[in-house]
Assembly symmetry: C2
Homo-oligomer: 382 residues x 2
């Protein structure tokens, strides 16, 4: 099977290396025929090209691997690949979550499939596990630490009692966080992954905007100090829950019991858990990023294509997001506590309070009303 690589950075370089190294017979059946690079200076391999059409129109190439990142031109290239009857494997969660509906339609029309294990949880076989579990079970819910950057910042802040700004800077220096870290710290990266997980878990495609999102940009040492005093650990979780006629779907900092397995997930690891009827809770922990783990997931997807282990394109059960169905108690720190007085259960400090049990939709509504640039909200699960 001949493969065309779009992108030769961290992930693309890893895919090329794994296929070129050919450790197993399954991998030796693959061949990287062409590699799209951005700049003539990268053309050190005879297979590289600066012209995407050379790859997208090559009749010998069966599979396109897209790991360029960003919306364009990735989206246009993937669409063209599908229209040309090529299978697509992508690690680009932002592009796929944004254009999922359109690209799945294009795949269906051209009798090919789109695979995206690497877009969601890096090396963790999360998508494959959902596919496998669903052969026997309905998925009731999932939750996960889907983002290593925020996991790093939260863990370091907790341990070293240091500020968000300091630890963000440290993560940037170490290359864990981008120079513009908004996608990570505001929860958008996790939102893309929750959206793709809902497709696999619940057969439903959602508008990204319908998934509630709270990030960690405003977290302060005092929030984590309260956590520590109550034997809780703070993690940014992405979650989905199935209610038959609707789902809840959200990204939110959660204060978890210190003895929850998720509380000890180390720095650069991701952890994702599904709950289903007969299997019960099943959790997967692995490297959520990095060249080789992510490339491993891409190569697994190419082998799925070779073995005709195509997933169904799962958008046959369209149900809306309704976050009124998820209820919890929330830690709320705000410049204007009066805005949340109606749901208060107890005061924590002059600026922080604990809510009574309330729906997530109500929290979203109050947070939008508050117009507070310093607002920090976390669900408390003791």
């Amino acid at each position: 099977m001949k493969v065309g690589l779009l992108g030769h950075g961290v992930v693309g370089g890893g895919v090329r290396k794994i296929i070129d190294d050919g450790l197993t017979w399954e991998v030796r059946e693959l061949e990287v025929k062409k590699i799209l690079v951005r700049d003539a200076s990268e053309c050190i391999d005879p297979r590289t090209t600066l012209n995407a059409d050379e790859i997208l129109n090559d009749p010998e190439i069966d599979v396109i691997v897209e790991c360029m990142g960003g919306l364009e031109p990735a989206h246009t290239y993937v669409r063209k690949a599908l229209e040309n009857g090529k299978y697509v494997v992508t690690s680009n969660k932002k592009m796929l979550a944004t254009y999922c509906s359109e690209l799945f339609d294009a795949a269906r029309k051209n009798n090919v499939t789109v695979h995206y294990e690497a877009a969601c949880g890096g090396g963790i076989p999360w998508m494959a596990s959902l596919d496998r579990t669903r052969r026997v079970d309905d998925i009731i819910s999932f939750r996960g630490i889907f983002n290593g950057t925020t996991n790093y910042i939260l863990e370091r802040m907790s341990r070293e009692h240091s500020s968000f700004a300091e630890k963000l800077q440290e993560a940037q220096k170490l290359g864990y966080a981008e120079q513009d870290p908004s996608d990570d710290i505001d929860g958008h990266d996790v939102r893309y992954k929750v959206s793709l997980s809902c497709v696999k878990a619940f057969d439903t495609l959602q508008n990204i905007e319908d998934i509630a999102v709270f990030g960690i940009r405003n977290i302060r040492e005092e929030d984590l100090a309260w956590c520590a005093r109550n034997n809780l650990a703070c993690k940014l979780l992405g979650s989905g829950e199935y209610y038959g006629d609707c789902i809840s779907a959200y990204v939110m900092p959660v204060f978890l019991d210190n003895e929850d397995v998720f509380a000890d997930i180390p720095l650069n690891f991701n952890a994702i858990e599904s709950n289903s009827l007969t299997l019960g809770r099943a959790m997967f922990v692995g490297q959520g990023a990095g060249s080789l783990p992510t490339a491993h997931a891409v190569v697994q997807n190419i082998i799925d294509i070779v073995k005709n282990q195509d997933p169904e394109i799962n958008d046959k059960h369209p149900v809306p997001v309704d976050n009124s169905r998820h209820e919890g108690c929330y830690y709320i720190r705000t410049a204007d506590p009066s805005a949340f007085a109606g749901i208060k259960a107890e005061d924590i400090s002059d600026t922080a309070l604990l809510s009574r049990k309330v729906s997530l939709q109500e929290i979203v509504r109050l947070a939008n009303q508050a117009e507070d640039d310093t607002l920090f909200i976390a669900e408390v699960r003791k």
Copy 2:
């Protein structure tokens, strides 16, 4: 695909229920045709029979599910099923680990396969994950909490500062431990699972006896008190490591850093981790026992057979166990400390010592020499 069930207890009953309920189209393609029960009083379903041959010789039955437990007659029935050209799915680790070589040969000769996801880690998709990872990677090592009974006893002892005898009795009352708990507390149950994991992970079949085994029968409150003082948690782990020309394979209590993800695996859960070249560390946590999770694993294996996702029979790389290759520091409590004087790094108490870094083979040799009925040994991994 028509299925014959041998055994209708906790696992067999769960398999019948999942197939009868037929939640997914994949499951609805299956049909339980006959069920072997032990006693006429169990013949409440028209499909039950007391005569195994009625199932084993039924030409309509393609797959035999063996979940009777014990060596005989399970072994004889499985062998006969294979000789009759039937696929076999078994949850019986003791029987399979004991007769692995013979049964794999019989399967090969009759062009069928033996599947055993449920024999090793209950509902955790451990075997499927090893198969999948190995399409791309070599497995370097694995380690796991493979036994819920001992995990329950160790966790309760640690929390409540209570004795082994007391917590064993409690586990027996709750139905977690058998009336004869030797297989669990002496580590034999985990040894069977390590043996089967070595087949999948390293392509090598081992004599059970070559796998080193240390249990928790002799553990005392003072051992766990030392653990707690050093911020360690005690878990009974099964492990395998690949060295190219040999493997190490062993079952042993391990004192782990409290922040190791394994330290917080809750009572009745199992956790298993593989480490491989490109994927790195990948961990799976789930229910290690119980009717429906284990039955889920059995049904997944039947669907693997339907989908022709047969694993290779992996004994093509026979290498010996050589536990001289695994080195560690060990906590040793013994009535005769002088027997371990040669490897002592420091005294912990009159009866306990910490060894210097030494090979596991040396520990096995000294433990055998010591002839100490109270001996307790754990590896210390800080």
